[in-house]
Structure formats: structure tokens, C-alpha cells
């Protein structure tokens, strides 16, 4: 293999995740004899959308340096879903109210997380963890009463497709393109990466480290909230355990997508590749007829294998 193509591969760590997703898609199709190729892809796009949106938020947080992580995402999703559905109250006329309310919650959660980190000077892991305890209680207390179904219009939007591509996926792909631009081309994005590489140097270079981190935690919380809202719309109502799998998923897609866990080196396309990979992996194991237990074990093994392989690559580069 020529060195130039190898170098190109190294410059685009996100290619791996798309390759892996493609490989799994093909493996599933080989097993089913080519049946349902389109349906599988369409389903993958629909479900990966939720992984992708929380993944993008988590990626920005992780980019700001070692130790930065948002563990409040699952509780945030549960609370936002419940709040959004209640505010909308099943009425199309109230959709705007739900969206604004959920955005507000996202901003509040982000501010709360950062306030804990900044004022109490506690590591982000424990700050977002304590915040998630409180959010979880709010979600339980608030969402306990009857399950409110989403308004017709919102449900149609959340589950609708054009040529097999879900509307939501189109929106989130657009969001990903936008955030990719923000990360690589804007002052904010460059600052985030600079802080992740060396916070001290970034500060000396005149970057307002505190403000940038603040913005990043708010961004991540808002994305988490939006995920909760759309997930509730997509699944016909909010439920308490709705966000549980998104803690692992949000971190896994960041890592599998080729973003450095130590911060400072990130890419947005990998989030989509990794999200598709995660969903296709589970559906492949389903197609192979694996039981729930086996499916979980294999998923775990593959995540560990991927992180081991990814870090091996990085060591080779260093």
C-alpha cells in the first residue's frame, strides 16, 4: 500500500467506523440473502439518529480535555421527554411550547452542570453524576402520572420518512454538518480543541477557557434534551428508563468514531459512522438469532475490542 493512501487514512480516523458499519451491514445481508437491505438501512438511520445527536454533544464535552464528560445525559433525556410530552399535552397547537420548554430545560441543565463544576470545583464526572441524581428524581416525580402521547403532528414528524430516509435523520445529518463546521472552522470550535490539547496554553493564548467549557456543557445538555424530546415523539410517549442506554452509547460512539478520549482531537463524521455501526451490530446479532444475553456480551466485547484496536493505532502513530 502506498504511503500517501495510508496517510490519508490516518488523517481520517472516522473512516474506520463507516467501514465497520458497512462490513456489518453486508454481513447481515449475506445472512439474509440480500433481503431487506433498504429496510435495514432505513431502520439504522432512524435509530442511529438518537445516538448521533447525544454523541455530538458528548463529543464536544470530551474534546475539552481529560476528565470532561457528561454523565447526566440519561436523566436529562428522561426528564426532557416527560416535560416535552406534558407541555405538548397531545395538542398540535402546543408543539412550539414543548420545544421551547425542552430547550429551556437543556440550557438549565447545562448551566447547572457547569455551576457545580465551577463553583464547587468538583470533577465533571461527579458533578454531572450528582446532577443526574436530581434530574432523575425530577423525572420520576414529574413523569409518574399517566403517559401522555405525543401530538399527532409531532409523532408524524418524528416517525416520518421520505424515500426511506427519516426526517429526523435528515435534520440530524444537517446538524452534524453544521457542528462539523463549527468544530473545525469557527472560533468556538478551534478554542474547544485548543483547550483539550492544553488548557493552560489555550488560556495563555487568550482563550476564555471557563466560558468555552460553559458553552460546551450547555450545548451538550441541549442536545441531550432534544434527543429526549424526539425520542419520546418517536416512541409514542416518554418513559423513565428511556435514556438509560444512552450513557454508554454517547461515550461509545465518540470513541468508536475516532475521537480521542483525552480530548483535543475530534471529528464529527465519525459519530454518524459509529452510531450506524452500533445499531447495525445489534440488528445483525438479532438476525443471527442471538439471545438478549449473548447480544449484550458480544456488544460489550466488540466495544472493548474496538477501543483496544483504536488505541493501538494511536500508539503506533505516536
Amino acid at each position: 500500500m502506498s504511503t500517501s493512501s495510508l496517510a490519508a487514512l490516518r488523517g481520517k480516523p472516522w473512516l474506520w467506523s463507516f467501514l465497520a458499519a458497512l462490513l456489518i451491514w453486508v454481513a447481515t445481508l449475506v445472512f439474509t440473502g440480500g433481503q431487506g437491505a433498504g429496510a435495514l438501512l432505513s431502520g439504522a438511520l432512524a435509530f442511529s439518529t438518537f445516538f448521533a445527536i447525544v454523541g455530538i454533544g458528548q463529543m464536544f464535552v470530551i474534546s475539552t480535555g481529560p476528565g470532561n464528560i457528561d454523565l447526566s445525559i440519561p436523566a436529562n433525556i428522561a426528564l426532557s421527554g416527560a416535560l416535552g410530552m406534558k407541555l405538548m399535552d397531545g395538542q398540535d397547537a402546543n408543539i412550539w411550547l414543548g420545544v421551547i420548554g425542552v430547550l429551556g430545560i437543556g440550557v438549565l441543565v447545562g448551566c447547572g452542570n457547569f455551576a457545580l463544576i465551577r463553583l464547587l470545583r468538583i470533577p465533571p464526572i461527579i458533578a454531572t453524576l450528582s446532577a443526574s441524581f436530581i434530574l432523575q428524581s425530577l423525572a420520576i416525580a414529574y413523569g409518574r402520572s399517566v403517559r401522555v402521547p405525543p401530538p399527532e403532528g409531532f409523532y408524524t414528524f418524528a416517525t416520518g420518512r421520505v424515500f426511506g430516509v427519516p426526517y429526523l435523520a435528515i435534520v440530524v445529518i444537517a446538524v452534524a454538518v453544521l457542528m462539523g463546521y463549527v468544530l473545525t472552522r469557527t472560533r468556538y470550535g478551534r478554542s474547544v480543541l485548543a483547550i483539550g490539547q492544553n488548557a493552560r496554553a489555550a488560556e495563555l493564548a487568550g482563550i476564555r477557557v471557563g466560558r468555552m467549557r460553559f458553552a460546551t456543557y450547555v450545548l451538550c445538555a441541549v442536545f441531550g434534551s432534544l434527543c429526549g424530546l424526539t425520542l419520546a415523539g418517536f416512541s409514542g410517549g416518554a418513559s423513565l428508563g428511556m435514556g438509560e442506554e444512552y450513557l454508554l452509547a454517547s461515550i461509545a460512539v465518540v470513541v468508536i468514531g475516532g475521537t480521542s478520549v483525552a480530548g483535543g482531537f475530534s471529528n464529527v463524521p465519525g459519530i454518524w459512522g459509529a452510531s450506524l455501526f452500533l445499531y447495525l451490530l445489534v440488528s445483525m446479532l438479532n438476525t443471527f438469532g442471538a439471545s438478549a444475553g449473548v447480544r449484550l456480551i458480544l456488544t460489550g466485547l466488540i466495544i472493548i475490542a474496538v477501543i483496544t484496536a483504536v488505541s493501538g493505532r494511536k500508539n503506533a502513530r505516536a
Binding site: G67, I69, L116, L119, L120, R121, I122, P123, I125, I126, L129, S130, A131, S132, F133, I134, L135, Q136, S137, L138, I140, A141, R144, L247, L248, I251, A252, V255, V261, A262, S291, A292, G293, V294, R295, L296, I297, L298, T299, G300, L301, I303, I304, I307, T308, S311, G312, N315
Partner: protein, 329 residues
């Protein structure tokens, strides 16, 4: 070394040392003080809790959490974090009510295997320099998957001897308290007072120095992870002894509780700064916070939130004490 120099450079040396020492003592006392305040509040609200029976009821479920917290503390002291602790303990519980009950030999083998897996994890994380958060998140899938395979639906029976063991009623002091005290003291002397303990913590504080002094960081990590696995097994066994049956999700919340317990007890995420006594006290504080809320009849909805609030409160206190240490006046 103890306090940043720039802010205190002008203070006379003696005053500075005294103030710093006082601040450090205050910080070390914080976990105990918060527990005492909590206990006193409970006793005032509900004097009947101040009996053998009452303490036993309140603190029984604290033992598995304290054991899980110690396990988490061992991982944290080498600068890692175990996000699979809860699912691991659930898995152990499932092994205990199935294999250990029906085929004791296989059961013990499986539990020994669990400790082996933890040792391997330590080796993998160290040798490939992997982020422990991601690896243990992956492991949490594996443990839950294994637990579901072993015990597809809630049930099973804990071995009789195990049930009898955790129900022992020693005279005067309830078993839970004795176990917690012994656990805290034993770990304190092992980790804080012994030579081995200093080396083990040093691997978190200054790995380079430890490596240069001729110790194998790999062996230290493997040892810490294996011990953490061992305490996780103990926690799972004690838990099923109390509950007598299990399910694949029985201890999932232990992951967060154990991390919170370590931090409440004065531990820090990096630098090998941990406190075994503090960790046990932290775990007890979290459990009692739950009891207090049920005594003041706050709906169980808010229990976990109140645990979060207590966590934030104690951390706020600690931040205040730390500021005192930096700028003693």
C-alpha cells in the same frame, strides 16, 4: 507541597503550617461529621431507630454498598474508574443464586473466574493504556449479558449458609456495624499504613516515581483490579444473603453509589488520594440519607435526588474547607 505557595508565601511559616494542618484535619473529619449529623437527625426524628433492631434494619443494606465502595476506591486510587461495578455485582448475585446454590464447586470456580477477569482488565487497561471508563462500560454490557443468560427471570435461591451468615446477630452491636468497622479499619491499615499500601497508592499519585523505584506498575494495577473484583464478589454475596433471590439488575445502581461514596469519603479522582475509612462512612451516609427521607415521609421519588443533593452539599463543604487550606486566615 501541601498548599500552593504563591497565595501564602507571605504568611509566617508556623501559622501557615498550623492553619494548613487544621484545614486538612477538618477535611478528614468531614465524612464522619456528616454521618454523625445525619444519624443524630434520624434519632431525633425517630427515637426508635436508636435500638439494635432499628440500626440493624437501617444499616443491613449498607454493607454490600460499603463493600462496593471499597472496591471502587481501589480502582480510583490508581486513577481509573469502574463504571461496571453495579452490573458486576448483579452478575455475582446471579451466580450466587444459581450456580453457587446448585453446584457449589462450579459456583466458586465462576466467582474465582470473576476475580481473574478483573485482574485481566487491569492488565489490559495498563498495557494498552486504555481509558478505563470505556473499557468498563463495555464490561458492564458483558456482565449484564452473563447475568441474563444465567438467570433469565428474577428468582433463584441464595445458599442457606449464606443467608444464615448475614443474619448472624452478635450481642450488643449489629453485624452491619461490626462488618463496616472491621472493613474500614482493615483497609485503612492495609492501604494507608503498610509499605505495600504506600506503593499501591503511589501508582496513582506518581506512577513515574514508583516505576523508577523498581516496582512493576503492571503488577500493581493487576493487584488493585483483582482486589476490587474480590470486594465486588463479597458485595454480591452479602447482597443475595439479604435478599435471598436476585435478578440481572439487582445492583445496577451500585455503580453510581460506589463512586459517590468514595468521593463523599474524601477521595479524589486522581493522584491516589483516597481514604478507606472515609469511603465506608460515605457509603453509610448515602444509605442513611435514604432512611432519613423515608422517616420524614418524603416520597420515594425524591430519594435518589436527595442523595444527589447531599452529595453536592458535602462537596460544597469540602470546597470551602479546601479554600481554607489554600488561603489560611
Amino acid at each position: 507541597m501541601n498548599a500552593p505557595l504563591n497565595s501564602v508565601a507571605r504568611a509566617p511559616v508556623a501559622t501557615r503550617n498550623n492553619a494548613a494542618r487544621r484545614a486538612r484535619m477538618l477535611r478528614a473529619a468531614l465524612p464522619a461529621v456528616s454521618l454523625v449529623v445525619l444519624l443524630a437527625t434520624i434519632f431525633i426524628m425517630q427515637p426508635r431507630a436508636m435500638s439494635y433492631m432499628g440500626l440493624n434494619l437501617m444499616l443491613n443494606l449498607a454493607v454490600p454498598i460499603a463493600l462496593a465502595t471499597i472496591a471502587q476506591m481501589l480502582i480510583i486510587s490508581v486513577n481509573d474508574l469502574d463504571l461496571s461495578m453495579g452490573s458486576f455485582i448483579s452478575f455475582v448475585a446471579c451466580v450466587a443464586v444459581t450456580l453457587l446454590d446448585q453446584h457449589p464447586f462450579l459456583g466458586w470456580l465462576a466467582l474465582a473466574g470473576c476475580v481473574g477477569v478483573y485482574a485481566l482488565l487491569g492488565a489490559l487497561i495498563h498495557s494498552r493504556n486504555l481509558p478505563s471508563i470505556v473499557v468498563t462500560l463495555g464490561m458492564s454490557f458483558i456482565w449484564v449479558g452473563g447475568a441474563i443468560l444465567l438467570l433469565p427471570s428474577p428468582g433463584g435461591t441464595a445458599p442457606q449458609w449464606l443467608q444464615a451468615l448475614v443474619r448472624i446477630k452478635p450481642p450488643l452491636i449489629p453485624l452491619a456495624i461490626i462488618v463496616c468497622i472491621v472493613l474500614g479499619l482493615a483497609m485503612h491499615f492495609f492501604l494507608m499504613r503498610s509499605t505495600v499500601g504506600v506503593v499501591l497508592r503511589g501508582a496513582g499519585g506518581n506512577p513515574l516515581a514508583i516505576a523508577k523505584a523498581g516496582w512493576s506498575l503492571l503488577r500493581i494495577k493487576v493487584a488493585m483490579y483483582a482486589m476490587a473484583g474480590g470486594f465486588g464478589v463479597l458485595s454480591g454475596l452479602f447482597l443475595v444473603g439479604l435478599t435471598t433471590s436476585a435478578d440481572a439488575n439487582v445492583a445496577l445502581r451500585y455503580t453510581l453509589l460506589s463512586i459517590a461514596g468514595v468521593i463523599l469519603g474524601g477521595g479524589e479522582f486522581v493522584g491516589g488520594r483516597v481514604s478507606p475509612m472515609g469511603a465506608v462512612l460515605g457509603a453509610l451516609t448515602l444509605v442513611l440519607a435514604g432512611s432519613l427521607l423515608s422517616f420524614i415521609r418524603i416520597s420515594p421519588d425524591w430519594q435518589i435526588g436527595a442523595q444527589g443533593a447531599i452529595l453536592i452539599f458535602v462537596l460544597a463543604l469540602r470546597a470551602a474547607v479546601n479554600r481554607l487550606e489554600v488561603r489560611p486566615l
